[in-house]
Symmetry: C2
Subunit: 258 residues, 2 copies
């Protein structure tokens, strides 16, 4: 596709990764708008864009405006966008396309399903990007934009996108919580969370090849009540951890350990 | 260390990875004993060993016998081992060293903390191996054996090892269960679990660098009740999944979504 002029609203983790990827693909990032001036400037410097703190200053020459703000702030941001010939997309997993209605003739979704941190590089070509457009005939425009930075661009309607977003909570937010529970338990016992890192990585890599059902192992699956009871004794004085252990053990084993 | 003559009891996932690693490090795997003849023969062929189905046929020339059977079968296997000059170790995370008492003058633990599958290669040098010995003066023998295949060999007593084993259940068994829940939900909705694979791998890799506390994100942590409620509506007709969602959301957010 021809190089586009792109404006960003937001300078958080998503913009921090999307803007440089699009810049690297030959597009021009012309503006970064963020209410946090310093963040806007930092990201703008990275991609050679102007920075601004006011959404009302959105440059009229932008071909597309990418809103990369948190779900909770999206509606307020949309209200402030000057009606514009440019296409407006948001990058949220859980927000319907309808939230953008009225802010432009063409609007849609550009949702990268990944966990982004400013200090971690991500291979954008591997990141699934879900697209949706108010005008199905204009979907191709978003598809080409996605294809310029990722090999995994596909259409999903707002309901499907919410279902993927929900699933991502299970495999990211909830999984990370289990890492946190393990780290807390080990550190309370003066043991080293680093010891778990190889099995953490292998557990993830395993489901790239095996189905989660085939990859499931452990005492709960085997119905190994002796080991389950040893674990329960170990955490008998930690009621919240015991509750978590019993909950997920019962989920795997389908019989009660209590 | 000098090359050792090693016998294995068990031909499951652990033996399947340990035996070739030790063979590759220059030791001689002289015997694989397994009640499943075919499995014993397969592994024996892989490492140039004899195979047998009877524990009572344990070769007397072995320097060390490595018991790599499931936790539940360990005590029964130990009962059958002929009293022998060779060192006997087991590879279980949850079983005390005491289970080996009486089977040899020297006995101990050689526990690799990793999830092994026959059809997946694992970099053994990255696998933590916990060692323990009834005679502390003989611990060095197990340390050298471990060092020949891994860079992460360390002493842990039986209680510490059980604590690590418990933690591994959290970050492997329970995490994989969340993968299963996500896959089941997506497949019930004709959506594609493959879309989640990049975020699954990145979630694991992230805690190699960030603490789980710093890596935590998502609607539960933000207290984003609107998104939480959207997710809950999405799975309102799936009571077990809703129960799981509420349980882990409350754990992260420390306030009730119900």
């Amino acid at each position: 596709m021809n190089a586009l002029k792109i404006a960003f609203i937001g300078s958080g983790n998503v913009a921090w990764h999307l803007a440089p990827a699009l810049d690297g693909a030959g597009h021009s990032i012309i503006q970064i708008i963020s209410r946090t001036k310093e963040n806007a400037q930092k990201l703008a410097a990275k991609v050679g864009a102007d920075s601004d703190t006011l959404i009302t200053n959105l440059l009229p020459e932008a071909d597309i405006c990418i809103i990369a703000v948190s779900d909770g702030n999206l509606a307020e941001v949309v209200r402030q966008i000057p009606y514009n010939r440019c296409t407006v997309v948001h990058t949220c997993g859980s927000q319907s396309i309808e939230v953008l209605k009225g802010c432009s003739e063409n609007y849609g979704i550009f949702y990268p399903l990944q966990t982004f941190s400013k200090n971690r590089a991500v291979n954008m070509f591997e990141v699934p990007i879900m697209i949706e457009c108010n005008d199905p005939n204009k979907l191709d425009f978003l598809r080409k934009l996605g294809d310029s930075i990722s090999n995994k661009v596909f259409y999903a309607n707002s309901h499907e996108r919410l279902q993927y977003h929900f699933s991502a909570v299970l495999v990211n937010n909830f999984v990370n919580r289990l890492f946190f529970e393990a780290e807390t338990f080990l550190s309370e016992n003066n043991l080293d969370f680093n010891v778990l890192k190889p099995i953490i990585v292998e557990t993830a890599k395993k489901v790239l090849e095996l189905s989660p059902q085939d990859a499931q192992t452990g005492p709960a699956l085997r119905g190994d009540k002796i080991t389950l009871e040893k674990h329960r004794q170990l955490i008998a004085n930690n009621a919240p951890l015991l509750e978590l252990y019993d909950f997920l053990t019962n989920r795997i084993s389908n019989y009660s350990v209590r």
